[in-house]
Symmetry: none
Subunit: 432 residues, 2 copies
C-alpha cells in the first residue's frame, strides 16, 4: 500500500454484531476509533450498528462510502459462520478472496505457541480480498484489512478492543497520518471530584464561553461521569506549540475558578493521580474497606507499578475481621455501630499502624439495597484518612444503587487522600 | 391515530446529535428503546448515529424506512437552530409544518408554571407535521411525534432520557402493543467460563445450527466477552409457554455437550452464581488476593446481600502482609517465591482458617507490565481454593494487559470455587 495523495477528511464507523442490537451491549469501539481519527484531524460523520447480516452490512457500507472518505468496520472477522464481514465486503467490492500464506502461518504460529494445532475453522481468517493489505493482529487470530476503493478507503478491524486498538494505531501512523496535513485536533480533559455538575457549570461557563470567540477557537463540553465532572477542551490547529499554549492558558483560567477541585488537567484517573502523589513522596498506603468491598484497593492497584506504594488492604465485611485484622476495639463497634466516624477512624489507624506505612484509609458504610435504617439510610458512608499523628473523618450520603454507592465511596476516599497529600511537602521523606 | 392492522416487526433507531460523534459520549437511549420494543416482539435491525446535519439525517431515515417497519429518531427536537429533526423529517416526508394550538399552550403553561413567559424561540416546538400526532412531554418542552408513512411508522422522541422514556412507554402501550399481536421476543443468555471461543463453537455449532430450521426458529449468536464466552438465544413466539419450553429444550441440548462449563443459562454473572451456591449451602467465603488487588472481593460484593456470605478479604501485596494476616510461613515465600502453588495454597488456607469460614480463595500472580521473569512471565497466576480438609491449586498463564490479567484471574478463581461447590451437597450444612 502506498501513501495516498488525497487526504482523508471524514470517516464513517460501522460496528457489526447482532449482540450490539440487543438491550445489553453498546458499541464502545467507535469511541476509541473516533478519538484516534480526531487526533489527526479526521471527523466522524456517522456511526452505524448492524447485525450479523450480509445484506444489512452491505447496505450500510454502500451508504457510508457515499458519505465519507474512510469507512471503518469493526467486528465480524472471527472464524465462525456468523462472522460475515470479510466475505460480505469482498463480494460487494467485487474482490475475490484469496488465501494469504503469511497470514495463515501467523495464525498457525499463534496456536502453536500455546501447544495447539490450528483448528480447520480458523483457516478462513487467512482469506484476504485481492489487493487488500492484511494487518497483523498481535493479540488474536483475525487479521485486519486495509482496502483502497478508488479514492476512498475501507478499514476492517476485529471487534475485541485489545485486538482492534494496536491495529488502529498502526493504520493511523502509517497510512492515514502521512497524508493528513498538519491540521490536528488537540484535546485536554479536566476532571473535578467532589462537586455537582451545576456547581462546576456555574463557575466554568463564564470562563469557557469567552473561548468560543477566541482565535483559535476552543470548544468545551461539560460531562457528568460517575463520581466526577469532566470538561473536554478541543482546539483545531496546524501548530502543536500554539495549540498547547492556548490550552494551557485556558486551563489556567479554569484553575483560577475551580482550584483544587480539579484533580487532573490531563485526563488521568483519580487512582493514577493519588499514586503519583504517593510516589513523589516515597510513601506507601494501606486500605481498610467495608462497604466498598475491595473496590478502592482494586482501583489503586489498576495502576501499573502500584505495588511500589500499595502495601495491603483489608476488606472487613464482618465485625470480627475488623477486630482481628485492624484492632478495632469491640466496644467501639458496639457503642457506635460499624458505620460510624469512630469505627471508620479506627479502621484507618489500625490498617496503617499494622502495615507500618504512611497513610491509611478506612471506609464503612451501607451500600444497599438492604441494611439501611432511618438514622443511617442506604448510601450513608463514613470515610477516614489516617497518618502519623492525625486523621480526618468525613460522612457522606450517596444516591444511587449498590454499584453507584460503591464507586462514589471509593472516589470520595481517594479524593480525601489526594487533598491531604497535596498539603504535604514532597520532600517530607518516609514518615512511618 | 387509529390502531394499525399491519403489525410492526422490525425497527431502526437513529440518534441525532453531533456530541454523539465525539470520543466522549455514546448513545444509551437506544438500549432502553431496544428493550421496550423487544418486549412486544419488535426486533431492532439497525442503529445509527448522525450529527446535527439535515442531509445526513434524511439519508439515514430514507435507508431505515427501506429496512424497517418502524423508525425511531431520538434527539434534535429542541428549540435551537441546531435541532434539525422536526423540519428535516417534515420536509423529506413532504408534510407541511403547522402550528398546533394545544401543543403551544402546553409549552406556555410549562414556562408559566415556573413564573416565566415562553421565549419566542420555543414556538417552533409547537410546529407539527400535517397528519402527525403530538405526544405530550411530562418532563420538558419538546413534544414527541408519531407519524404514519403508508404502512410504516416514524416516531420522533426527545433526546434526554427522562423526557424520552415516559413517551416511549405511552407509544408502546397505546400504538404498538395493540397491533403487535401476541408475538414476543424471548431471550436467554448462556455463559461459559474457562474455555476458548473456538472450543465452545466447535461443540455448540452443530447443536444450534439445527435450530435455524426448527419451528419456531431459535437464533443464536456466540460472543467472546472478557473471561467468558456467551451464547445468546432468541425466539419469536406468540406463546410464552411454548417459547419457554423450546428454549429449555435448546439449553438442555447445549448442556449435554458443554456440561459444567456453562455457569449460567439465565444471564447471571459468575459472582451471582457463586453467591447463590454459597447461600444454598449456608456457607461463607474469605478471599486472600495479591495480583488481583481486591477485584475478586469487589466482584463478590457487587451482589446485593453478599454480606451474608462474604466474611472478609485480604489484599496482601506485600509479603509481610501475607505472613501477618494469613499466617503464610516466611520460608515458604523464600523457598518458592510469592507466586507459587505453595504460597497460593497457604494464602487460601490461612484466610479461611483465620476467618473460620467454609471456603477460602488464594490468588498470587504477576499482573504486569513489570515483575515478570523468564520462568514466571507476566500473566502467570496461581489460584487455590481451600476447604475443611482439602485444597485445589491451579496455575494459569493469562494473556493481555494488567486489567485483562486481573479480570481473568478473578474469573478463574470464582470459577474454581463454583466447580468445587457444585460437587458439594446442598444439605451439607455448616462445615466451619
Amino acid at each position: 500500500v502506498t501513501q495516498e495523495s488525497r487526504p482523508v477528511r471524514t470517516a464513517a464507523i460501522i460496528a457489526v454484531g447482532s449482540e450490539l442490537l440487543t438491550p445489553f451491549r453498546s458499541d464502545t469501539n467507535s469511541l476509541a476509533i473516533t478519538g484516534r481519527l480526531n487526533e489527526i484531524g479526521i471527523e466522524v460523520a456517522s456511526k452505524q450498528i448492524v447485525g450479523d447480516d450480509p445484506r444489512d452490512l452491505a447496505t450500510a457500507v454502500t451508504a457510508a462510502l457515499e458519505r465519507a472518505d474512510l469507512v471503518v468496520v469493526t467486528g465480524g472477522l472471527g472464524p465462525t459462520s456468523d462472522d460475515v464481514t470479510r466475505p460480505t465486503i469482498a463480494r460487494m467490492l467485487d474482490l475475490p478472496l484469496e488465501e494469504n500464506g503469511e497470514v495463515l502461518e501467523r495464525i498457525r504460529q499463534r496456536f502453536a505457541g500455546r501447544g495447539l494445532a490450528m483448528p480447520e475453522i480458523n483457516r478462513g481468517q487467512a482469506m484476504v480480498p485481492r489487493g487488500a493489505t492484511a494487518l497483523a493482529n498481535a493479540n488474536g487470530t483475525a487479521p485486519g484489512l486495509w482496502i483502497k476503493v478508488e479514492h476512498r478507503r475501507v478499514l476492517l478491524l476485529p471487534g475485541p478492543p485489545r485486538e482492534m486498538q494496536p491495529m488502529l494505531d498502526v493504520v493511523v501512523r502509517e497510512y492515514l497520518a502521512p497524508s493528513s496535513g498538519n491540521m490536528r485536533l488537540y484535546r485536554r480533559v479536566i476532571k473535578i471530584a467532589g462537586r455537582a455538575e451545576s456547581y462546576v457549570e456555574t463557575l466554568a461557563q463564564p470562563v469557557y464561553s469567552r473561548w468560543l470567540a477566541a482565535d483559535p477557537r476552543i470548544s468545551t463540553s461539560i460531562l457528568a461521569a460517575p463520581g466526577q465532572i469532566e470538561l473536554h477542551l478541543g482546539i483545531r490547529s496546524d501548530s502543536a506549540d500554539r495549540a498547547r499554549m492556548s490550552l494551557e492558558r485556558a486551563i489556567g483560567q479554569l484553575k483560577a475558578v475551580l482550584g483544587l477541585d480539579i484533580f487532573t488537567d490531563d485526563g488521568q484517573s483519580l487512582e493514577e493521580v493519588v499514586g503519583g502523589l504517593l510516589r513523589a513522596r516515597g510513601w506507601r498506603i494501606a486500605v481498610a474497606e467495608s462497604c466498598t468491598g475491595g473496590l478502592t484497593s482494586s482501583r489503586l492497584t489498576d495502576v501499573p507499578g502500584s505495588s511500589d506504594y500499595v502495601d495491603r488492604a483489608a476488606v472487613t465485611y464482618s465485625n470480627r475481621a475488623k477486630v482481628e485484622w485492624l484492632g478495632v476495639p469491640e466496644d467501639l463497634i458496639r457503642d457506635h455501630g460499624a458505620v460510624s466516624e469512630e469505627v471508620a477512624g479506627a479502621m484507618a489507624i489500625g490498617v496503617r499502624e499494622g502495615a507500618g506505612v504512611e497513610v491509611g484509609i478506612g471506609i464503612s458504610g451501607i451500600a444497599g439495597p438492604g441494611g439501611g435504617t432511618e438514622a443511617k439510610p442506604v448510601g450513608t458512608v463514613v470515610i477516614a484518612v489516617a497518618w502519623d499523628g492525625g486523621q480526618r473523618v468525613q460522612a457522606f450520603r450517596f444516591a444511587g444503587g449498590r454499584a453507584q454507592v460503591k464507586f462514589q465511596s471509593s472516589q470520595a476516599a481517594l479524593d480525601m487522600v489526594r487533598r491531604w497529600l497535596l498539603e504535604q511537602p514532597q520532600s517530607a521523606g518516609r514518615r512511618a
